[in-house]
């Protein structure tokens, strides 16, 4: 008598080893497909990372020769403001006079500049609180009560070494990686 179900012989193979071998194939097929699905997600995620042209602009050259003592310029590094400041002797003295143990983020001016180039303070122009651009790099801008930078968003004040002195910001303005390519030029990034 014919039926649509398999014969009794086929049922016998469902015992022990049969079941396990058969299940194994199904499990293998599903897990293989699962792994493939996960791997296929990688490019879908990776495409949101910076593209090659963005990465190619990841370094900035700055010519220091035109910046007078006491002046600062704003330039752009990785699409964010970069402050390059030529400190006066008075500003250096003010920065050195601070007892670093009293600071929120203890660092000396030496640690924040290159040896022998203490007058050149290069920092990101990004407040470490919530990312606003502090004032103080432009001509006639409010430098805050410590003579460095002042962030108008939530009132963080930075001193002449761009260290946080007052307000909600937790850290000093970040010093990006840079090196001198000549006496008067730096390469940031």
């Amino acid at each position: 008598m014919a039926t649509l179900e398999g014969s009794a012989d086929a049922d016998l193979s469902k015992d022990d080893g049969g079941v396990r071998r058969r299940d194994f194939i199904n499990i293998a097929a599903v897990s293989f497909a699962g792994v493939g699905g996960v791997v296929a997600l990688l490019p879908l995620v990776n495409q949101m990372n910076p593209s090659a042209d963005v990465l190619a602009l990841a370094s900035t050259e700055v010519d220091l020769s035109g910046i007078q003592e006491g002046q600062a310029i704003k330039t752009i590094y990785r699409s964010q403001p970069l402050f390059v400041r030529h400190l006066t002797a008075k500003e250096i003295a003010e920065a050195d006079a601070v007892d670093i143990s009293t600071l929120r983020d203890p660092q000396t001016l030496e640690q924040r500049t290159v040896d022998g180039k203490k007058q050149w303070l290069i920092t990101m122009g990004v407040c470490t609180h919530l990312g606003c651009v502090p004032l103080g790099a432009g001509e006639g801008e409010n430098k805050g009560e410590y003579g460095g930078y002042f962030c108008p968003c939530h009132g963080s004040s930075y001193d002449t070494a761009a260290r946080i002195r007052k307000g909600p910001a937790p850290l000093n303005l970040e010093v990006p990686p840079y090196s001198y390519t000549s006496e008067t030029a730096i390469l940031v990034g």
């Binding site: 649509l4 086929a10 194939i25 199904n26 097929a29 599903v30 493939g36």
Partner: protein
């Protein structure tokens, strides 16, 4: 009702199409389309073997460098390569410093703005820049080139059928107009200022033969002799890379993906047979 309407609509469309066919057939027989010079003398690109042909093909970096040299010394005087950046040249085997030097020494400068005055100025390109265009705009290009704009070459190898072979054939295909062409189509004589080339769609192009003599470009020691044929092949290879810089990544990723898919599909087939083993269908 639906079927009666459909019948009438069908009769109308089919009937009128057959009437149109008759009109066309009569016209075709009584007044066959005249042959044109383009139809009879246009040639499909010549076959040429490249290292990047086929699913296993790879770019030959030495060849790409030679082709780049031809582009730099010959083509770039008139043709832009605006979608390619100097930084991309690292794929040809140049290191960072070499790329920087190539960019800095590029004959055409990158337009910029003078930081002091705000006026238009130019500067040496840097690796992050795209290849600067030889002409500021199409009007300037047209004015300098006998009223024809030299096309951008970034995508040329993908913008023509059989791209690499087309570029090679076009560069080596300049010749005098065949006598039987003029005999058969006296009106199709190559106009003054144009150049006959059977691989070009309408047979006459504004570009003068750019590669004319062996040794026009001096290749480095140990490279093949710079014959016109060799230079044409090399620059065709370079432009293929320029159009499809990710080809090698694409092919190697393809093999990994295919291998995986074949195994996965094999397992899926076994699983399918397995599940249906006890059911007739």
């Amino acid at each position: 009702m639906v079927r009666i309407g459909a019948f009438l609509v069908g009769l109308f469309f089919s009937g009128w199409l057959l009437v149109s066919f008759l009109f066309g057939a009569v016209a075709y027989v009584s007044d066959p389309p005249a042959p044109t010079a383009e139809k009879e003398f246009h040639l499909v690109p010549r076959h040429v073997a490249f290292s990047f042909d086929g699913p296993l093909g790879h770019y030959d970096k030495q060849q790409l460098q030679r082709g780049f040299q031809v582009f730099k010394e010959v083509c770039s005087a008139c043709h832009s390569l605006k979608f390619v950046a100097f930084r991309d040249l690292e794929a040809l085997g140049y290191n960072e410093a070499e790329v920087k030097a190539i960019a800095k020494g590029w004959a055409i400068k990158t337009p910029d703005v003078d930081p002091a005055t705000g006026e238009a100025s130019s500067r040496d390109p840097v690796p992050a820049d795209h290849f600067p265009k030889p002409f500021a705009n199409d009007v300037a290009a047209r004015a300098a080139n006998n009223n024809a704009v030299p096309p951008d070459l970034s995508l040329m190898a993908k913008a023509r059928h059989h791209g690499p072979a087309y570029i090679y054939s076009l560069l080596t295909g300049f010749q005098d107009q065949p006598a039987d062409l003029i005999a058969k189509f006296p009106d199709s004589k190559t106009p003054e200022g144009l150049h006959y080339n059977p691989y070009f769609a309408n047979l006459n192009l504004a570009m003068a033969p750019p590669l004319t003599a062996e040794g026009q470009v001096t290749y480095a020691e140990g490279q093949p002799k710079p014959t016109v044929d060799q230079m044409s092949q090399d620059v065709a290879a370079f432009l293929t890379w320029a159009a499809e810089p990710k080809m090698e990544t694409r092919k190697s990723a393809g093999f990994a993906v295919l291998l995986f898919l074949i195994i996965a599909t094999g397992l899926a087939y076994m699983s399918y047979r397995n599940i249906w083993a006890d059911e007739k269908h």
